[in-house]
Symmetry: C2
Subunit: 241 residues, 2 copies
């Protein structure tokens, strides 16, 4: 293979890497902005989250198309091929993280009429911070091809499920105490489910890092509650295997 | 290109098509079984749905790997390349439809303790039948490369959103009438959201059929309610663009 070919191939991989890094930055910001919009009942901020999702969708299609053209042009094998498959998978997960952040932002718009912010939002904020840190960690693990770090993130996903369980019970209690809480607590239930699904995509990315570096699949059971083990978490467990 | 090469290339495409057809059959059965399990509080049937999801995940990884190897080996261009990209996308959507059916099945296991089946399940059944028909239609459109049929399916997705709205209001009323309804009605809320997301994947597949046949993107606005247009539906609108 001529040197300039190798070089331009490396440039294609670098360009994929840059696009995924941009996607990660957008997804992280959407997630924290969506939660700020929800707890601040800030409609403008929520709408800005909805708008930024378009950029994420464009980048994902862009990564997918560029990856496929690179595979067709270069016919990469082994780790080179895994690099590109991983890029397609990670960009897909980040695109869906953006969708979930957008959904939280839309809920924020819907409940903005509420004059008070329910206590349960504090738990949601905490859950969202954990999910955002997990996402940042796994994207660093992806950038550094760090399998141990990816596995650590993957294992910590169980904390998100535990948090969702307690928020679920908290919101249910809230609803039972006063029927006027039912409508907006329902929105918060969906928000916590969205955050838990961000965690599922984070574990997907961790599994992709493992595949990228080793060529295999992560030799652990998913860090999820078992079906029926609790009311809230297990149902979306392995939502995105 | 030698004849035998063309032939074996065609065989690779046929094999992808067969795998996707099998995935479609499994996803459709999981969806109807999950709803039967929910309305019949049938734990065994629900568990069989959870188990069949594993086969769907395997098939999806299989289609993805085979597609990528075909791209690397054949360097297909234009419609041939779109064939394979479409296979990757459709298998991804079907895999997630399976996840959603599995989630409904897990909810069925969780609420199996309830001795009575809430009235709202009738609405859910209706919604699920509509979603299953839409899925069957779009898979036929994919098999026949029928753009008009795909667009018709895509447009009808708005009916699912409308149904989810009415089920959402119905369940909320149920919860407000009697706090003892809150816990299992919450599970049904998540079930209706899962069914609505099946509709999102169906519209994704419709868009993929359009891309496959024309090389372009569907020239219509998504058949979704606008943000804030209702309490329930718009929030997950464009959940999976």
């Amino acid at each position: 293979m001529a040197q300039h070919t190798v070089t331009s191939y490396d440039q294609e991989l670098e360009s994929l890497g840059r696009k995924i890094a941009e996607m990660g930055g957008i997804a992280e910001k959407m997630l924290s902005d969506a939660m700020d919009a929800l707890s601040g009942l800030d409609v403008d901020l929520a709408q800005s989250v909805v708008i930024s999702d378009g950029r994420l969708d464009l980048l994902q299609r862009d990564v997918e198309a560029a990856s496929i053209m690179t595979i067709a042009r270069r016919q990469p094998m082994a780790v080179d091929l895994r690099e590109i498959v991983a890029a397609i998978r990670v960009s897909g997960d980040l695109e869906r993280v953006g969708d979930l952040a957008k959904n939280i932002a839309k809920r924020a718009i819907l409940i903005a009429g509420e004059q008070r912010v329910p206590r349960a939002v504090i738990g949601l904020r905490h859950m969202n911070e954990l999910a955002a840190n997990q996402l940042k960690d796994v994207l660093d693990a992806y950038a550094e091809r760090d399998v141990e770090r990816a596995q650590a993130v993957w294992t910590r996903d169980a904390e998100l499920d535990a948090l969702e369980n307690s928020i679920f019970r908290d919101l249910l209690t809230h609803m039972m105490e006063d029927p006027r809480n039912i409508s907006f607590c329902t929105h918060l239930l969906f928000c916590s489910k969205n955050i838990e699904r961000v965690g599922d995509h984070t574990t997907n990315i961790a599994e992709t890092v493992f595949y990228l570096v080793t060529g295999g699949t992560m030799p652990l059971d998913r860090p999820k509650a078992r079906p029926g083990a609790s009311l809230a978490a297990p149902v979306e467990a392995q939502d995105e295997p």
